[in-house]
Symmetry: C2
């Protein structure tokens, strides 16, 4: 195979015996211009035989659009490492994008320079960004939003107007807690998914608190322990709860991964699940169904969130308005055998 150069639209034009403009008209199906059937066919055949594909850079330059979305992972590398739902999010964003011919550019966070993604934006590399797990100490998000650059959050930034897509975590935590109440549990502990400086951790705790209050149960702050994303932290937190004076008869763990550690702690303490201690998780990671016992947990619609984020961002990019600033997706508790 000769190392022949990539064909450009001029090559196609010459082979078809027309102008470059005509080639563009035909290949882009520009509406409102008249092209004879014979010419159209000649152009298409020429393009085919030269294996012509329009150069993306040229197209971007003239159109000013890159047809590319940035997907920025704001979480620390350690968090990303063990994120069982990330593949679903990726697929969701990816499919939403591809469906309308957009590409997805992935930006993990660099520990050394967490806000470096800004450069990619300023260079017009992407038309908009999805920010997964936005951080409240990120100074750039609000600025971008106010400049009118299309931004879509996965997760929320309290007190801001930036459009977002999120699960209704508070409602989920409330459903999980209510389920335990319905099973007759009264002394219900909570292990958070993350330190309470994280918005998502506070939301899940608030749902838990609201369920307790509605049931007329007083909140006992010795029953709250902070998790930290890892099973290890769940193990430690559970051990802390069990070494307290009167032990709980149920625990809501706001993350399945953390819950896995908590389950190990419960078993190591010689207690049975759910007889001695019921446990409900949050996330519904793929393996939760195969925990021992299978974990009752609130389903986080990760694919749906990704898809919605991508879809709405594209709408923003194309200047179609959004009916509402934020979307809070509802979901369901999956009852299995741990409760």
């Amino acid at each position: 195979m000769p190392p022949m150069k990539r064909a450009n639209s001029l090559d196609v034009a010459q082979l078809a015996g027309v102008s470059r403009t005509t080639v563009s008209f035909v290949l882009n199906n520009v509406p409102g211009v008249a092209i004879s059937e014979a010419t159209r066919k000649r152009v298409l055949e020429a393009a085919q035989s030269l294996n012509y594909h329009p150069n993306a850079a040229g197209r971007k330059l003239v159109s000013g659009k890159s047809r590319t979305l940035g997907l920025v992972l704001c979480q620390s590398p350690e968090q990303v490492f063990a994120d069982s739902l990330l593949p679903q999010v990726l697929l969701g964003v990816g499919q939403a994008a591809m469906q309308v011919g957009y590409q997805v550019l992935l930006r993990p966070t660099e520990t050394s320079d967490p806000f470096n993604y800004i450069k990619t934006i300023r260079e017009n590399f992407v038309d908009g960004i999805v920010l997964s797990g936005p951080r409240q100490d990120d100074p750039e998000i609000i600025r971008l939003y106010e400049e009118g650059f299309p931004v879509m959050l996965m997760g929320q930034l309290p007190g801001s107007e930036v459009p977002f897509v999120d699960v209704d975590a508070s409602a989920g935590a409330e459903a999980a807690t209510n389920h335990l109440l319905e099973r007759g549990r009264r002394r219900i502990a909570i292990i958070t998914n993350a330190p309470l400086t994280y918005t998502s951790a506070r939301q899940r705790r608030d749902g838990y608190l609201h369920a307790l209050t509605s049931a007329g149960i007083e909140y006992d702050d010795t029953l709250l322990q902070e998790g930290n994303f890892t099973p290890e932290s769940g193990y430690q937190a559970m051990m802390g709860l069990l070494s307290n004076g009167s032990r709980p008869d149920a625990v809501f763990v706001a993350s399945d991964v953390v819950a896995k550690g908590a389950m190990l702690a419960i078993k190591r303490s010689g207690l049975r699940i759910p007889e001695d201690l019921a446990i409900v998780g949050f996330d519904d990671i793929p393996l939760a169904e195969y925990f021992d016992p299978p974990l009752t947990t609130f389903h986080l619609p990760a694919y749906g969130l990704g898809w919605a984020a991508g879809d709405r961002l594209i709408r923003l990019v194309q200047n179609e308005g959004l009916d509402d600033k934020g979307v809070l997706m509802q979901s369901d508790l999956i009852v299995r055998e741990s409760s």
Copy 2:
């Protein structure tokens, strides 16, 4: 804030009172051209005050390079969904790329059109691609490679010359099986990670077979069951093994996720791990450490594989040669309590 237009290099040039060429020279630190210190400073200040960032499309157009790597996930969406190691791979490729100023474009597979990624390549959108989980029925890979387009596989394509990065799966499976032999087990079953049409499944089985042969143990084909990525398939496979005449005293499951289902089957059958039946997995997913009991498993260096793939692909893109066509990474068996 007025909706002022993005500054281009001409704006910078005019503000600094120099030509556009000079701006380019200064900002790119072009070696071998003389710029007075005063001018250099004026240009830098002008760029700063205009918040100038060179337009990526313009740059790509003239350079012919996009400084972007494609990361193509060839696995089916269902597989990707439950892939616990994907985040590590992504981070690996991402960090390798960012370190040298490259971007990563993510391409999940569309079920409707699995080889559609080709279009992205032909449009010069990316300089090279990493193919994760290449499929043998993919007609494009070889063609791209033969055209000289930079391709790096994560996983292998038997009988091809395409550069790859992979774990030494055969050695891993052999180590896992040897470990069981050392523990005194003699009737060792295997559940594959995937149907044997998959290269990775065959490699792992071959390692298992080789260990058995070396130990002088005859292979009993009733002890082989095919898994299919899911815990469910592991559960079924294990049930199959247990319903056979004489049950095994150990099982090597070539995927931790599949192993999780197998473990459930073992427990449901009233057997103890490892006393009645030892089990060793493959992959070392983040949760394996918290299985019940913690799973002995061969560590798949997912981050390392991703990083190596990215790094080597960039080398290919930049026409630096590779010392060897393929890299087979070695790794270790992590011994925990399931064996």
